[in-house]
Symmetry: C2
Subunit: 364 residues, 2 copies
């Protein structure tokens, strides 16, 4: 029998998303694909209205509330269409033609949000870090107190920056947490809406988490197609139509794994350890340098450059030989990006750091 890579070498998956999932979750997903809950059927071929799958969906919703410490003021939905759909759905549901929305521009995702929000009403960009290729998080801007919401991208996957502090305002935040949901505790009182594509910290591609504080609802008058109206999905508990069963099931398993591993507080410790390891190496290794401003460094996506660009391919080759994948940088930044989401093990960062050290010994 042909030996598979999985037998012969441990993989270190630094992919920016879809991203590494806990191995136990993957094994449970494979088992459910063959035979779900000893039903003799695959989870892929079962009615989403059956008792067992209704339980999966309900568990996913309650785990989400538990992990984030949300009370009954918040509604949780599992939808589809990614964060890209939430850019316009949030505006469609919460911004009146005569209203006022605000945004902070911290990169590609906020720029895309700006384009979509503007279609529905006035939008003011309060601050932007475009002047330095989005390598920092703007601070010190004023939020107009009459704004309906302030849109913020919590973590910037491409540029490797992350909000570690938040504007001091009572205006509700609409926060795109696609790439750092469940990675750290949140202060729920700040948020009117939290949304996140699943495929980084929550699960596989194919579902989108949307959390809405109830007092955000019912303030906009425009006519909204049934499927684009949050009220539809709240009333039907995310089962207005057939929900993406496998993506939500695997998200539920991943949230269970987070819970069993110390919750979001445990994840924060774990993520800080991994990030410290790699950032310390970046700050001491003469061959490499970090991209993001130190105070805004992301614990999820660590972007870095190599001083001698001609060594780029060789570094990718050597890391690949050690089972490291997904560290090629995004074209907007270049260099490398190590995504260190919840499920990435510390050992994987250690392997990468060791390679960086050897590389510096050889070429430094």
């Amino acid at each position: 029998m042909k030996a598979t890579s999985i037998d012969t070498m441990k993989k270190h998956n630094f992919s920016a998303g879809p991203a590494v999932l806990p191995r136990t979750v993957i094994e449970q997903a494979a088992k459910a694909t063959l035979n779900f809950n000893d039903s003799g059927l695959s989870i892929l071929e079962m009615s989403h209205r059956g008792k067992d799958l209704v339980e999966v969906l309900e568990n996913a919703m309650s785990l989400c509330k538990e992990l984030l410490g949300l009370d009954d003021d918040y509604e949780v939905m599992f939808l589809t269409g990614g964060a890209s759909s939430q850019f316009y759905m949030t505006a469609m549901n919460f911004l009146d033609e005569n209203g006022k929305a605000c945004i902070v521009d911290t990169g590609t995702w906020s720029s895309k949000a700006i384009k979509e929000i503007k279609r529905f009403g006035p939008l003011e960009t309060l601050a932007s870090s475009k002047d330095k290729n989005y390598s920092y998080i703007p601070k010190g801007y004023q939020v107009p107190s009459d704004a309906s919401f302030l849109h913020i991208t919590s973590n910037n996957t491409i540029y490797g920056t992350q909000h570690h502090e938040w504007p001091d305002t009572k205006v509700p935040l609409i926060c795109d947490m696609s790439s750092d949901i469940f990675s750290r505790p949140i202060d729920k009182n700040k948020y009117g809406v939290i949304y996140a594509g699943a495929q980084k910290n929550m699960g596989p591609a194919g579902t989108t988490l949307v959390i809405v504080r109830k007092d955000m609802l019912g303030k906009v008058k425009r006519e909204i197609p049934t499927m684009l109206d949050y009220n539809t999905h709240i009333q039907k508990k995310s089962a207005f139509n057939t929900w993406p069963v496998l993506p939500i099931y695997v998200s539920m398993l991943t949230m269970q794994w987070v819970k069993e591993n110390g919750g979001v507080e445990g994840m924060q410790v774990r993520n800080q350890e991994k990030a410290d390891l790699l950032y310390q190496e970046l700050d001491s290794n003469p061959l490499f340098k970090g991209v993001a401003a130190k105070e805004d460094r992301s614990l999820m996506n660590i972007t870095f450059l190599i001083n001698d660009e001609s060594l780029t391919e060789e570094f990718l080759r050597v890391t690949s030989e050690q089972g490291v994948s997904g560290i090629k940088g995004h074209r907007s930044v270049g260099g490398f990006r190590a995504s260190t989401y919840n499920a990435l093990e510390k050992q994987s960062v250690e392997v990468l750091v060791d390679i960086m050290k050897s590389f510096a010994n050889k070429y430094g």
Copy 2:
């Protein structure tokens, strides 16, 4: 070790959707979930921009065109949001405020489409079978030649009726084929748009197939959010944002299975055989009777009643003992519904028919 049901009894999965998938497809899906293409990684944790997954998406698109005999006049997209999202997206993209759309009302799904289409422009309901609880397909209506499109639900999952003939018109059909896509050959020239939620004949829940004939595009002036504009997804070949990897992968495997089993022509023969078996039993067994008008009977969803309603629970119990699942009728019709999608084996229908015969011997 505890024996699982799958070891001890063959299952006969008549679920209306998500529905039975070929066992070989399920086994491949489970394998890819553990270790995709010997990469050592799960298909759930890999970048959708990687070479192997880009190939999956491209294969899915080309298999779809091949199976349906579509040429380059048609664009194929894999989106999300289900048929429920296509009700409004088709109108948003193809119906002007001053235009004219038409629809034939054949049940729950067309009624929902009516509600959403109306938001975007004038809609005329040309015919309806509501008068007889949607037990037949309306015929003989005239289609206004200046209509932008005529919306038709090809197969009615709930009521068990199916279009076997089509209105004689040059107006392009927008056809919801959610429950009979890939079950029979189609005359591509009739359709401006075909759409289908995956979770009946195409794959698991989590992706939606949309096929658009190019000449339908560019005729409507309204502003459309990026994610709701078909042009976005056509230009980006369904990869504008992260696509639902596992649902599209399993859909690709299922389309491959259709191809290897005689294509849509092979499926039609297979489906006709299964349906003939069950309808013949319904027409001869004194205990049961079919719901749909004979000439409009669906080859996908076979709805039937039991003459003595007090035997309903007993019939469900006996069938369940034989491994039959998913045959409880929808509440709008009552009785039973046997969904006989592509992947259901003839043997499963034989088992059901045998139980019906024994049941008639005992209670008839």
